[in-house]
């Protein structure tokens, strides 16, 4: 095994992993905002649909969600009569965005509800609209509460990007499999140790970035209030 050639080869697949991750981050964030809005405002039918979506994203394994996206998207596209243009990478992006949106919604909603009840009431009594209330009063306080949970959800998103290899996207894991097979599967354990180090470093970087914002946003911390309870739970 030659680490000097293996590590650059593994890192050459990193841009795809990061691309899938960032697409899922951004699209998932938007999805989570929409789902959370509907869930806290209780619009009759749409709220139930949002609830169903969140429980789908949270109770179904990510591998299965990826496979559903991989086999379901062509069907969906053909219903609209569009030519099938989808690749494994796009299916991975869609699947992970859906997963991340649902998971993040379950971080945002408790944070929104954890903001002191009096703040909600004060904003309502002053005649703020929902959007004004969220952007000016509840939002900044909820950000402080939600940040640790958000950091966790990013870390689990990085973990779950490792699963896109199963639907055939050429990410770091898939490249590692190629490298192992070229060496006649002699150094499997060692290659996985290298992978573990790479993913740990990615998670460490993500955690440090979130930590930086956490320290900055502590000025929005409510005075003398008990810290909100965050459940740190894995998500596969």
């Amino acid at each position: 095994m030659d680490l000097n050639t293996m590590i650059p080869e593994l890192l050459s697949a990193l841009p795809l992993t990061l691309a899938i991750m960032f697409v899922a981050l951004i699209v998932g964030f938007c999805l989570a905002l929409i789902a959370t809005t509907f869930r806290v405002r209780r619009v009759p039918v749409i709220s139930q649909l949002a609830d169903l979506y969140v429980s789908y994203a949270r109770s179904v394994p990510v591998v299965l969600q990826l496979f559903v996206a991989f086999y379901g998207l062509p069907l969906l596209v053909s219903l609209f009569g569009v030519e099938d243009f989808l690749s494994a990478t796009i299916a991975a992006m869609v699947g992970l965005s859906l997963y991340h949106g649902g998971y993040l919604s379950e971080v945002m909603r408790p944070a929104y509800l954890a903001v002191d009840r009096g703040q909600h009431d004060a904003a309502d009594s002053l005649g703020y609209t929902f959007r004004q209330k969220v952007t000016r009063i509840v939002g900044p306080q909820a950000v402080y509460i939600a940040l640790p949970g958000y950091g966790n959800s990013i870390i689990y998103l990085i973990h779950n990007v490792a699963l896109v290899m199963y639907i055939g996207a050429a990410d770091v894991m898939a490249t590692a499999h190629l490298v192992m097979e070229r060496d006649y599967n002699q150094y499997q354990f060692e290659t996985y140790v290298v992978l573990a180090v790479i993913y740990s470093l990615l998670c460490l970087i993500a955690w440090l970035i979130v930590r930086f914002f956490e320290l900055r946003s502590s000025k929005f911390a409510p005075k003398a209030a008990a810290p909100a309870k965050i459940t740190i739970m894995a998500s596969v």
Partner: protein, 230 residues
Amino acid sequence: MFDIDVLLPDLWSILGAVPVTLAMALTIFVFATIIGSLFALIEHRRVPVLRELVVAYKVAFKGVPMVVVIFLAYYGLPPALQFLASLVGVKFNAHATPNWVILIVALTACVAAFQAEIVKGALNSFDTGQADAAHSLGYKSSQLFRRILLPQVIVAAIPDLANSFMVIMKALSLGFAIEVVDIFAQAQLTAALNFYYLEAFVIAVVIYMVIAYIVTHIADRTERALRVRT
């Protein structure tokens, strides 16, 4: 493209894997909770060297994806066991270890780190004034633990424990990479026989969501039944 007729036979085929999955999940849950409680106790009591080791363990298992841990166990565990056995001088073929044992060991190692976090949170929610009261009433430490601490801590931890059970159920789906058949793997096998992939996966999605619903429902009811009304 979506064929309704195969849904029912697929459902029966995939349901066959549910008992095995639940049994494996329960095994992992029990082992992981025991190990996690030990870790939490070490942190709670502030045992000097062990405490740093536990923190390092948690950091390591939080940063590495479970797939990688499973593959590491798959390739690393049998040689390690073989080496240990030869060290003690026992004749034992560790390379014949069944894959489901490896999966259970790997997932227990992963989930124990999270269970430790849950138990620690529950221990921290315990009011120390009650411990002082118990000591002033002449309770021994074992009595304090059994009569006062444990009943409250367990109730406080129920929602998180139900959550972690679902995480284990979902994590078992990664076992198909090392040929352990659970609900997801069974869906793949069923689909491979008749080529109706989406249908089999939709059935698997429904099964997972129903199980999640039942687990949270049971957890809610137990919590409501056990919580002391104040």
